[in-house]
Amino acid sequence: MKRLLLAILAATVLWPSAVLGQPEDSACDELRSHGDVSDIDLLRCRFEGLRCMRVEREGRASSPDETSLPPATWQATEESVYVTCGGLGCIDAPDSEDPSMGVCGTPSIPDDCGGAAIVGGLCGEQHLIMKKLPGIVPTRLFFTAHPIVDSGFDGAAGFNPDVAAGVLLQVGLGRSQSRELAGGGVLHYGFPNCYLHAEALWSRFRVGHDVGVGYKTGSSWVSRVALTGFGQYAGETGLEDDNATYRFGPAVQVEIYFNVILKGGWLPVGTGEGPVWFAGLTYGASLLDDFRK
């Protein structure tokens, strides 16, 4: 960071003075005295040929018809470009066998500028310092389809297949953090793994709610699990059924490959006969588009 700030400061301070034609040595003064001389020429007059530093850049793969890898390439350091060379590139020094030793000169490839873009014959692009994120509060909203079965409304064995529509909302609990990386860039960490999981579903036979906490596993096959409290008001012949009951209990949800959520629950509390169990799956309605022709 200190080096970067130094580089930017140097670029800011040195460039205008050099570009505006205020080099102090006599050779440059003489050049200036000729009158019609460009700013870049003045800059070169002052910095070209000075020693500067280069660092190794990873070698590249060999071309199809080569039988050995080419040597590694070398890249100017930021300090070389913006401090030592005042915005000129740091190119290979022809009189030195040490590839880390360069001389200030005309930029020809981005490596000569330490990776910065070449603008008007100079290394011109200032480095971007990214703003840190204020924090991340992820949400997701799914309109869902719920094929679901349960044990029946009297608690006895039996299956009542049903398809419900629903809305699922997940809100991340927590904020990520970030810090600068050595060498440049930003590292983000502490992404929230726990989610508030809130779901509502309804069909001809039931109205249900499902609220709990989800956990992002980091695995692909079981990408998320959630423990929730599931409740449903359901009737055998419909919601207007005189014998409709409300049951409530714990449920488990397992998301497979970021895609389908398998769920099951045991509802021991409520009106009517019980306990009642249920099983089903949740699928995002928009995901169904992937299967359409």
């Binding site: 970067l4 850049r57 990873e58 070698g59 590249r60 793969a61 060999s62 071309s63 199809p64 018809d65 080569e66 039988t67 050995s68 890898l69 890249q75 930021e78 981005p110 490596d111 500028c113 330490g114 990776g115 910065a116 873009a117 070449i118 692009e125 480095h127 971007l128 310092i129 990214m130 994120l133 991340i136 509060v137 992820p138 949400t139 997701r140 909203l141 997940q170 991340g172 990520s176 990386l181 060498g183 440049g184 860039g185 930003v186 983000h188 960490y189 992404f191 992002k216 596993t217 980091g218 692909s220 970021f258 895609n259 995002g284 995901l287 588009d289 992937d290 299967f291 359409r292 022709k293």
Partner: protein, 346 residues
């Protein structure tokens, strides 16, 4: 409208349509191949459907499918991979392309699209995933060539956020060509025959010294050396050559034509990722389990080592202990999507 955001998906990120009909969700396609093979039935039709034909010196495919009298075209993006991002982009805009085809060819189509659909008095904001990032980088070079200036792309694009682009290649591309297990072990032979006809895979081969000798040390050969591919007759030499040309022409200095574009990279280092293969010259290539830090496909340290300092300063990295998904599903993570969208606001 001052700007418009658009997604450029990654490899396999949008459907392919054969004569307008989807070739299938990857899961369905895999299942169909597996079931046909298990039942002893021919999978030849699928091989023909998915294979392409190219000729040397021509970026555009000669045939987009080897099925007679048919054509394969790009379809809509897969919601399972990009739904959460698309839900937060106005109009759910995306640029579908044939991710099997040549990068330069697709980059030309991308430029045409960006020019023709350009927002009134505004510029594009591009979010790319995986190969989509390479497409944008190649497009920036192609457009610079056309216009004669390194800042040409900024006339069209104000922001470019590249999520997990394999800028310097990925060992997985070589794995697909050699092992071919992407669609499951049952049909690896068939997949290899298919993959060998896809230029994009060749153009994503690793561009670093990734071949290690069995006895230790670096091989003198790279994955763009003809000699490396001698044991694999289905690997087409002219496509290896083309892969090398694309790398050298557009991806040696990938961001040099992004002057004026607010570009950024987003990588992850929370998955074990392959960064090497093992082979003696002219012998079969072995793929050891990945041990490097990355997103499962793009090794981070090697990528950063190849970056210029300016690129590093524009790089964001998801930390090593995060529970974000691997490469292909990175944009299913709400946190990543939020990160990307915030980057486009700056």
């Amino acid at each position: 409208m001052t700007s418009r955001t658009i997604l450029i998906p990654g490899t396999g990120g949008n459907k392919l349509l054969k004569d307008g009909v989807s070739l299938g969700h990857p899961v369905v396609l895999n299942a169909r191949l597996f079931l046909l093979k298990a039942a002893g039935m021919s999978v030849e039709q699928t091989v023909l459907d998915m294979s392409m034909e190219h000729r040397p010196g021509q970026a555009a495919p000669v045939k987009t499918t080897l099925s007679p009298d048919s054509e394969v075209t790009p379809g809509p993006p897969l919601d399972v991979a990009y739904g959460k991002l698309l839900d937060r982009i106005e109009g759910r805009s995306s640029f579908p392309y044939d991710w099997r085809a040549d990068l330069e060819y697709n980059a030309g189509l991308l430029i045409d699209y960006l020019e023709q659909e350009r927002p009134d008095a505004g510029r594009w904001k591009l979010v790319t995933h995986s190969q989509g990032g390479l497409l944008a980088l190649v497009a920036s070079g192609l457009y610079a060539d056309r216009k004669g200036t390194a800042s040409a792309f900024s006339e069209l694009v104000s922001h470019l956020c590249m999520v997990a682009p394999p800028v310097y290649g990925t060992v997985d591309a070589a794995n697909a060509l050699v092992v071919g297990s992407e669609l499951g072990d049952e049909v690896r032979g068939e997949f290899r025959r298919i993959a060998g006809t896809w230029p994009a895979l060749y153009q994503m081969l690793p561009d670093w010294r990734c071949i290690k000798l069995p006895q230790g040390g670096d091989s003198n050969l790279g994955l763009f050396s003809y000699q490396t591919w001698q044991p694999y007759p289905w690997v087409l030499p002219f496509l290896v050559q083309r892969g090398y040309e694309i790398r050298r022409k557009y991806l040696e200095y990938p961001t040099q034509n992004l002057q004026g574009v607010q570009y950024s990279y987003l990588f992850a280092r929370n998955q074990k990722t392959a960064d090497r293969v093992i082979a003696s010259p002219g012998a079969a290539i072995d793929f050891p389990a990945g041990q490097a830090a990355g997103d499962g496909l793009v090794p981070l340290d090697i990528t950063r080592a190849r970056m210029t300092s300016a690129e590093k300063n524009r790089t964001e990295v998801i930390g090593p202990d995060e529970h974000t998904p691997p490469h292909s599903m990175l944009l299913t993570d709400d946190a990543v999507v939020t990160l990307v969208l915030k980057r486009l606001e700056q």
